[in-house]
């Protein structure tokens, strides 16, 4: 999702909105002010319980301020990188906001406020989860586009100021839409008989699922249309296979009743392999294929395209390892008892070393909420899982860094390496 969109979406979601206007820097540089008053007038969404999205993955407060210990390097690396490729997404994104469908979703989201539907959580984490920010994925695609340059392209197709092609910008947007769509679909609730005996609650949850499903489908449909418009069938196939991989990722291994993943005893013979399979499907494939695709659009040969894939894949995996580490690193604001991913690298590595931990993990077979997270946290913290995860992160960071060496020195290449370095620092 573009940052322009996010900012407005954010306002719609979390403030009492009677008037919204936004300013967009167009590719040509002039400033365009758009008033959305009419469409969103009267939408009045108040903030719900801020605690609701302080999970282990996310330590940003409800007001969207970064937590105190956020190191400045990351933000600096990202914001400088954004300058290099111009605003990270295209003006086209505004079309979303002006579309009836998204206005519709905003209206319906209002009805869900006060209910417990995780769609609200998903919407908020899209807005505030700084490090896992969607915007950063599109940004990476644009940076590698600029770092690689392009061959045999007509002037018309280039955004001169940013040094990327319009088609590459569209692809970056598609990457963000696909990822957002997936997160929104993942944020549905599995409703089964007896889960909500209260009819009013059942009603809310069913409605929330409907909105989540439709919003995700809307983004997916838009991705298809955008991709089709690029008139490059190899690219369509590549990106469609990334959508396929994301869907497949949700079927890997043992799951609780809400489809949260649990480590499987048979997967742990090789923790690194198990972790890699899960995360290539759910993250590496999309970023890898997007980076590959953008080099394809630029007219580069298959060899360089493959390097692009490697870069994106390793970067996404390094990124994931970094996120997995978050609840375990010194100085982290791990809130005692809060939920973290049981298939995160530190836990999987620990299980490989000490399968006894399964006795606690298995309590989550029906719901991961039933696991004693303090206990798992303390056991894993004392074991080898954390240092192994740091190694894993380093390995993928290095591999991504190696790929960068094939490109000539440029501000975009420097920005990418700064991002990798900043991530290692976190």
């Amino acid at each position: 999702m573009s940052s322009v969109c996010l900012n407005i979406y954010n306002k719609i979601l979390l403030r009492n909105v009677s008037y919204i206007s936004c300013t967009v820097r167009k590719q040509s540089g002039y400033v365009l002010s758009v008033t959305l008053t009419k469409k969103y007038a009267g939408i009045d969404i108040t903030q719900s319980n801020p605690r609701e999205f302080c999970t282990g993955r996310n330590r940003y407060s409800a007001a969207g301020k970064l937590a105190q210990n956020q190191k400045p390097d990351w933000n600096k690396a990202v914001s400088e990188a954004e300058k290099i490729v111009g605003y990270p997404t295209s003006f086209l994104s505004l079309r979303w906001l002006l579309s009836d469908e998204i206005a519709n979703v905003a209206l319906h989201l209002r009805k869900l406020v006060g209910s417990n539907h995780p769609l609200l959580k998903t919407a908020k984490s899209l807005l505030y989860n700084g490090r896992n920010n969607m915007q950063a994925w599109g940004l990476i695609v644009l940076l590698i586009s600029k770092a690689a340059g392009h061959l045999n392209v007509e002037d018309m197709e280039e955004d001169k100021a940013a040094g990327v092609l319009h088609s590459q910008r569209a692809l970056a947007e598609v990457t963000e839409m696909i990822r957002t769509s997936h997160l929104v679909h993942k944020g549905m609730v599995n409703i089964y008989p007896g889960l909500y005996p209260e009819p009013a609650i059942l009603n809310d949850m069913t409605f929330g699922n409907k909105i989540a499903l439709l919003s995700g489908d809307y983004l997916l449909a838009n991705s298809c249309t955008e991709l089709a418009g690029l008139r490059n069938q190899d690219l369509v196939e590549l990106m469609s296979s990334a959508i396929r991989d994301l869907a497949e990722g949700e079927f890997v291994g043992r799951r609780d009743q809400q489809n949260n993943p649990l480590p499987s005893p048979d997967g742990v013979s090789d923790a690194a392999e198990d972790w890699t399979l899960r995360n290539v499907l759910s993250a590496g494939s999309l970023l890898g294929k997007s980076c590959q695709g953008t080099l394809k659009l630029a007219g580069h040969g298959t060899e360089l395209q493959e390097q692009g894939y490697k870069f994106g894949k390793h970067l996404a995996l390094a990124w994931q390892a970094c996120l997995d580490l978050e609840p375990f690193i010194a100085g982290s604001q791990y809130v005692s008892g809060s939920v973290f991913n049981l298939t995160s690298a530190p836990v999987l590595f620990h299980l490989e070393h000490d399968p006894n931990l399964f006795s606690e993990i298995d309590k989550g077979a029906e719901s991961v909420q039933n696991v004693d997270y303090d206990k798992v946290h303390s056991i894993v913290s004392k074991g080898p899982g954390i240092s192994q995860t740091k190694q894993l992160q380093k390995k993928h960071s290095q591999k991504a860094m190696e790929v960068l060496q094939v490109f000539q020195e440029s501000d975009a290449r420097t920005a990418l390496s700064n991002i990798i370095v900043a991530m290692g620092d976190l």
Partner: protein, 327 residues
């Protein structure tokens, strides 16, 4: 009885399903195979292939192949086999349709579909949603392998239309005047677009020019609209109200008291019964039937501009099949 020569059959005797038996017999097997090849996860395979059990009518693949063959004959006469790419489009149409059914099932909490428990009853809703995404992704990969930019654009329009149709179904705030237009647009997007655009894609793959592709498109659009109108009529007879469809919208003109019931989606006690009574007293059902017929006549008119062939005849028979569901 004398032996009937091909082409000498009386029009009403052409059975498009028999005519296309060879083309259609492996469509579901091939779809299942394509889906299976794209994942190693057994549960994903099971859910994704669940509705491709060969029990469906395969209306969409049938109409797509029928038009493909009619167009091929129109353009190339006897030297015109079905192209592999056209058959792919028939499969793709059915896949996009099923992906949307699967998502509908989760949203509508249906218990049964096609005579068996629906997907949302049997599996985790999140997995079902993902299986729908998966089918769409595989269909999209198949589209890309046709290596035709314009066909890809045409078929991706279908996906957009389907979602926009769903969104239209969410809202009912439009005024009385707009309501019928809203209903028809929604019907086009949710049902007719898929048939019209997949048929158009088969024509494009045959090398049809814009005029000919438009004939194919308009045929599909009209058949699709008629199909949905008849569907809504049958649903009405079964008292499945809730959404304002043609029979009620027509009846509204005579009995404005239906308006508030539409707005509250027939949720108050007695609404359904009263609406049912009023629609029967008005000419709502007949008018719906009339509108469906009108679209079928237009479809036949479009088809009649193609060269005479068993397939072209078949296109006319399809409109009879659509209308005859009403009887």
């Amino acid at each position: 009885m004398h032996t009937q020569q091909p082409g000498s059959l009386p029009d009403y005797r052409v059975d498009p399903y028999r005519l296309l038996e060879d083309d259609l017999k492996d469509v579901y097997d091939d779809i299942r195979e394509e889906l299976r090849r794209n994942t190693m996860e057994p549960e994903l395979r099971t859910i994704a292939t669940y509705y491709f059990d060969g029990q469906g009518k395969a209306l969409r693949p049938m109409v797509a192949i029928l038009m493909a063959r009619a167009i091929n004959y129109h353009m190339y006469k006897e030297k015109s086999g079905l192209l592999a790419s056209q058959r792919q489009v028939a499969m793709i149409a059915e896949m996009i349709h099923s992906a949307s059914l699967i998502h509908d099932d989760v949203v509508d909490q249906a218990d049964f579909r096609r005579g068996k428990p629906s997907v949302n009853v049997l599996w985790n809703h999140k997995k079902v949603a993902m299986a729908g995404d998966f089918i769409l992704a595989v269909a999209s990969m198949m589209i890309s392998r046709l290596q035709d930019d314009d066909v890809t654009i045409t078929l991706s329009q279908v996906v957009t239309d389907l979602v926009q149709g769903e969104f239209m179904q969410l809202g009912s705030k439009e005024t009385e005047n707009e309501r019928f237009a809203h209903y028809l647009t929604k019907t086009y997007r949710k049902t007719a677009s898929l048939i019209a655009n997949s048929i158009k894609a088969t024509a494009m793959l045959a090398g049809a020019d814009e005029t000919l592709a438009e004939v194919a498109f308009q045929y599909g659009r009209n058949v699709g609209l008629a199909f949905q109108l008849v569907d809504d009529l049958l649903d009405f007879v079964d008292l499945k109200l809730g959404l304002a469809t043609a029979p009620v919208l027509f009846a509204c003109e005579r009995y404005p008291e239906l308006n508030p019931m539409i707005m509250r989606r027939f949720q108050e006690p007695g609404d359904v019964e009263r609406a049912f009574e009023l629609v029967h007293k008005s000419h709502g059902l007949e008018q719906t039937q009339f509108l469906a017929r009108k679209h079928c006549i237009e479809a036949v008119r479009q088809a009649s501009s193609l060269t005479d062939s068993p397939y072209q005849k078949g296109l006319q028979v399809v409109t009879d099949l659509v209308i005859n569901r009403m009887k």
